[in-house]
Symmetry: C2
Subunit: 348 residues, 2 copies
């Protein structure tokens, strides 16, 4: 029998830092661009009408010598019982013999790798002198978006918080965000998270109920909501703004006015997913944009495509989330756990 490593939620939280998460996701995107990685079809199913969904994202990363999948489910009623709504596991196999390497709790990792995506959109598309971030959405996922962006963009000193449903949510989020960010490890080598706590401390967080005013004072915007109607109007977006649109990941979701796509430079993680389940779907259906107009972010990262050309460009990164993020981060976690002898080795 062979052994594989089980990494539970506690172990994952203890060794997953933002820095390496962003590095893994960046690498995953670039391997895709270099055709050293492949996505398999996504399976997305409603399993109990209106109450439970699940999806399976699978693929292979030749560059990391692994393949595998992540199954994530959402059971809406769990929260009524104080239970987490989202559950996920990844399974990683080696590409040499096909043997299992590990099974990981994917809940925390999913937040982190999704945060990394939003932040990489900003790193590669926003103006390099960006100092003000706006975040639309105040759910748990928003915390990871902010963490990754602050980690990647040292120039960001102010973060607006906007909740399209309720100003009180934004206020509460503003009051609690420094504490929440402090719980996240930015860099495993940063003793007691000291540098990170200092980084958080230099940022001003401001709740707002006026998205139009907020956008006048924004260099980069992240949308991370389950919205099905556009929350941000085209007229509100000033030249030079970057938007990382993260919330839309199934058919029917939309966070920004599709007309913004008319004049924007549009990057995506995966073309096919973007036009079917991503923010791009509406602009695509309205013939505002064609699939061939879309630049995959991996091509920006490896320098094969150009994104922003001037400080006046409006740029969009539409991330629907791809298996390669999960595979790269999971494999990174397994290697780190091996090094530190963490997790449980089980015979399989």
């Amino acid at each position: 029998m062979r052994s594989m490593r089980i990494l539970n939620d506690e172990v994952v939280k203890s060794i997953l830092d933002i820095k390496s998460t962003v590095e893994c996701v960046e690498k995953a995107y670039s391997l895709k661009a270099k055709q050293q990685a492949r996505l398999f079809s996504m399976i997305s199913e409603e399993i109990i009408e209106g109450k439970a969904e699940m999806d399976i994202k699978s693929g292979m990363l030749d560059g990391d010598n692994v393949f595998g999948l992540k199954l994530v489910s959402w059971f809406g009623d769990n929260t009524k019982q104080g239970l987490p709504a989202i559950t996920g596991l990844t399974m990683i196999f080696d590409l040499v013999h096909g043997f299992p390497k590990g099974v990981l709790n994917a809940s925390y990792m999913t937040g982190m790798r999704t945060g990394a995506a939003g932040a990489l959109g900003i790193k590669y598309l926003a103006r390099s002198n960006s100092s003000v971030l706006s975040v639309v959405g105040t759910g748990r996922m928003a915390i990871f978006q902010i963490a990754a962006t602050l980690s990647v963009m040292p120039g960001i000193k102010k973060v607006h918080i906007y909740d399209p449903l309720n100003y009180e949510n934004a206020k509460k989020f503003q009051d609690g965000i420094k504490k929440e960010l402090g719980k996240i490890i930015n860099d495993l080598n940063d003793q007691d998270n000291q540098l990170w706590l200092r980084r958080i401390d230099e940022v001003l967080f401001v709740a707002t109920d006026d998205p139009q005013k907020m956008l006048m004072d924004s260099d980069a915007v992240i949308t991370i909501t389950p919205s099905r109607t556009p929350l941000l109007k085209k007229a509100w977006i000033k030249p030079g703004t970057h938007l990382s649109c993260i919330g839309a990941d199934v058919a029917g979701k939309q966070e920004i006015d599709e007309n913004i796509f008319k004049e924007a430079v549009v990057c995506v993680d995966d073309r096919q997913q973007a036009v079917t389940v991503g923010e791009t779907q509406c602009a695509f259906r309205a013939n505002i944009i064609e699939s061939s107009d879309l630049i995959e972010i991996g091509h920006l990262i490896i320098g094969e495509s150009e994104g922003r050309r001037s400080d006046q460009d409006i740029t969009i990164f539409d991330s629907t989330g791809i298996s390669l993020q999960d595979l790269a981060v999971s494999n990174g976690l397994i290697l780190k756990a091996e090094e530190l002898n963490l997790g449980e080795l089980v015979q399989i």
Copy 2:
């Protein structure tokens, strides 16, 4: 944190018996017919050209309150190093909260549940007085086909073994089959496997190099090869014969002459899979059969459809293998392991 059970190869082999495997697969088929189960799209990918493949079968069994998936890979070169070519894991989640119940080594289980499929085809479609079985194919999977059939059909007293490539393989298989069958547990309640060993002993196994002659003396036939050309001709099939076609499970595979479908009663495990990746694909493409002609075996089991109508009918069961078999057997294994306190409970 929550706990889930890990069942490794050794544990699975120690508690998985043929009897309960057949019961689980029978239940899975009937839940599908009662629409208390759903298959999700199958993912099937070649991951290294000509050398490695992988597929993911997923679905939900409302009747058992579980959902999940099985990932199985084939790495052809492994055997050169004395390593198993097939590796598989199943992940099972509960349908109440979406929490993981268990991760299981699926290698042995896959053989057993595939054997159960072939045997159920015989149980529901072959003449009830069948006494002679013919098996085409002498790989490891053939052993499970024979085991399940002998378990389900007490009237079978003779088994022909035919290897389309090489008579020597059939001879070797014949010489070793009783020992191999003896390693399988038929019924956990059968002390020391005694009744099972006696059952095996009353069967005559005969290697043959003449398929035509073999078919003259066959009541039921199982094909379990990776063939891509028909091995059995229409003219050789005598009236009354049943064929369980198990080998064809990807596009391009075929084991029997598609013209046999012209006059046969055709059952499948899943219509859509059958016409795309099953034995049925050739007959379907040649317009010999329509999707609406196909009877799903679950409907036979629950008595909603009729299969064989006379002793003269030729019947076919085309099984491509569905996730519901894996989910039902895996869930049965988890329940059994809980009862016996076996496997490893890990925090996740």
